[in-house]
């Protein structure tokens, strides 16, 4: 695999089976993602964006096809290795943020590090650092329900970054944000890309993000119908 590529899929397909009913969510998706870039995946609702992110993040398994994270083929990994992958290699920012309501902001950010078995001191230090970086350090003792949507988005981003992943997947990151917060988030992503060298894949409806992004893939009916990612030329 090209050293510049961090992620590659080959003929990736996902079909959901519900009794006699079969729904093809992804069909023969071939994707190349460059290291350190921001890739926007856009398309209408039901086009397979979230399914694709779940497969890329090791949260679900493809029906067929392969996913390579660097040279590691992740679609056939066992559960234990997939957990390790989700913990160390991939950060996920979900559409509804999925912060744990019973935990404080700081505890939410510590989660991945806790599962990694890091020391309390190390977790506290890193969690404070990433919270400062995303601009919500002053809210670390609050519960998620006490935060605005924009703040929750930032906390979710901080959690995704806590274990220094190589790849961050964001599902509709601006779906619940106003225009100012959306701009703020995109600026933040750029800062993090530069500061931490992280690759971002963002599934979005937001045309502003799509237009502002150099690399983008248009999904429709589970198929890539327009690939203008920088790596499509490879």
């Amino acid at each position: 695999m090209d050293n510049n590529l961090i992620l590659r899929t080959e003929s990736l397909s996902k079909t959901y089976v519900n009794g006699p009913e079969k729904t093809v969510a992804l069909d023969d998706v071939n994707l190349n993602v460059r290291r350190g870039e921001l890739l926007a995946i856009y398309g209408p609702s039901g086009s397979g964006k979230t399914t694709l992110l779940f497969l890329l993040g090791g949260l679900d398994r493809p029906t067929s096809g392969q996913i390579f994270l660097d040279s590691l083929e992740i679609s056939n990994l066992d559960e234990r290795r997939l957990s390790t992958l989700r913990r160390n290699e991939v950060g996920f920012v979900f559409q509804n943020y999925n912060l744990v309501e019973d935990l404080t902001v700081l505890e939410n950010v510590k989660l991945t590090m806790m599962f990694e078995g890091k020391s309390e001191q190390e977790m506290a230090q890193r969690a404070s650092d990433v919270l400062r970086k995303v601009g919500v350090a002053h809210k670390e003792k609050n519960r998620p329900s006490q935060l605005s949507a924009g703040e929750q988005q930032r906390v979710a981003t901080a959690r995704a970054l806590a274990n220094r992943p190589r790849l961050v997947l964001m599902d509709e990151p601006t779906g619940n944000l106003d225009q100012d917060n959306s701009h703020g988030l995109m600026n933040l992503i750029e800062e993090i890309m530069i500061a931490e060298g992280v690759t971002f894949i963002v599934a979005t409806h937001n045309q502003e993000i799509v237009q502002a992004t150099a690399s983008k893939v248009f999904l429709k009916g589970g198929r890539i119908v327009n690939d203008s990612s920088t790596s499509s030329a490879l």
Binding site: N98, T112, F115
Partner: protein, 349 residues
């Protein structure tokens, strides 16, 4: 947590009731002293034992025997209530057990109409040395109140010959207690007694409690059955509660898994949480049991109500039971929740 506390309260109460009864009954047979007990064959308690008094002479004739004295035991009416009455040869009393006189004096002759009373019983009846008291409908004078710090403090002692007449056991006795010069010869003597008197059971006095224990076999079985049923109910109840609780927090566990928690880590998390709640529930149950049972006493006899014995072993078993139940009841819910598929929870809630 509250369910577990209730289970612990039930367990401690049932076990303590049985223990208290057993300790008292065992105490009543083991407080008479001596080295060898001779009961009628097959008797599980001296109250139901009856052997000829002449056996005492036969035993006394065996080499090495220093004392062989008959003892009658009966439940008789003292004042208006029932109490255990021991008919003992007065001269043998100091050789059977050590006592201190609280007031008055110990019976010293076969004179009828006098008795000695244990201080616990005297306290319960409000009686003291010199008082008149009705024993089996006849007037007796309390010659003295003694203290032994054993169960016999709940009893009355009268001369053996008087007891024989009173309970209709002329020429008979409930049991014979023997002592020997050389403790190493006890087993030999027991063998000789069994050969000499085949209608009797002879055994070390220290084994008397084990003779009584068959009486408790059914009671202990009932207690064990109650514990098993309540335990099963608790396991099912706590498991159901855990399942509901975890189902409500399914999203949190899905987030844990999505952020890198492994199958094993989720199981450990659930078990740790259950263990913590189990320890808290157990401590709560032990605390409630300890306080509540301080105010409970059970009537062993009409005159004798004893406070519940709270044995450390009961509390240790209760703790082990509580912790085991909390862990066992968490295993299935933990396995279920560890299989949660985050992508499904996030999509469908």
């Amino acid at each position: 947590m509250v369910g577990l506390a209730a289970l612990i309260l039930t367990f401690v109460s049932v076990q303590s009731l049985v223990s208290t009864l057993e300790i008292n009954l065992v105490g009543s047979v083991s407080s008479l002293g001596g080295q060898i007990d001779v009961w009628s064959r097959g008797a599980s308690y001296p109250l139901v034992s009856k052997i000829p008094e002449s056996y005492a002479d036969a035993i006394r004739s065996l080499p090495g025997v220093t004392l062989a004295t008959p003892v009658d035991l009966a439940l008789l009416t003292v004042a208006s209530d029932e109490a255990l009455v021991a008919g003992i040869v007065p001269a043998a009393i100091p050789r059977l057990f050590s006592y201190s006189i609280v007031k008055g004096s110990m019976i010293a002759s076969n004179q009828s109409g006098i008795l000695a009373m244990g201080n616990s019983l005297a306290l319960a009846l409000g009686t003291s040395a010199g008082d008149e008291i009705q024993l089996n409908g006849q007037s007796y004078q309390v010659s003295g109140v003694y203290s032994t710090n054993t169960w016999i403090d709940n009893s009355v002692i009268i001369p053996h010959v008087v007891a024989q007449q009173m309970i209709g056991m002329v020429n008979g006795t409930s049991m014979i207690i023997a002592t020997t010069q050389d403790p190493r010869s006890i087993d030999t003597l027991i063998g000789q007694i069994k050969t000499l008197l085949p209608a009797t059971d002879a055994f070390r006095s220290s084994e008397a409690p084990s003779r009584v224990s068959p009486l408790f076999a059914s009671l202990e079985t009932i207690a064990a059955d109650i514990t098993a049923i309540v335990t099963l109910g608790a396991v099912l109840g706590i498991m159901n509660s855990n399942l509901n609780n975890l189902r409500e927090r399914m999203r949190a566990f899905a987030i844990f898994k999505a952020t890198g928690a492994s199958y094993g880590q989720i199981i450990r998390l659930v078990l740790y949480e259950s263990l913590l709640l189990g320890i808290l529930g157990t401590l709560l149950g032990l605390g409630i049991s300890y306080v509540a049972l301080q105010f409970v006493s059970i009537p062993v006899l009409q005159t004798t109500s004893v406070r519940i014995f709270l044995l450390p072993s009961t509390f240790i078993y209760a703790t082990l039971l509580g912790i085991s139940i909390s862990l066992v009841a968490a295993i299935y819910p933990a396995l279920r929740i560890a299989r949660v598929r985050p992508q499904e929870v996030f999509r469908f809630g």
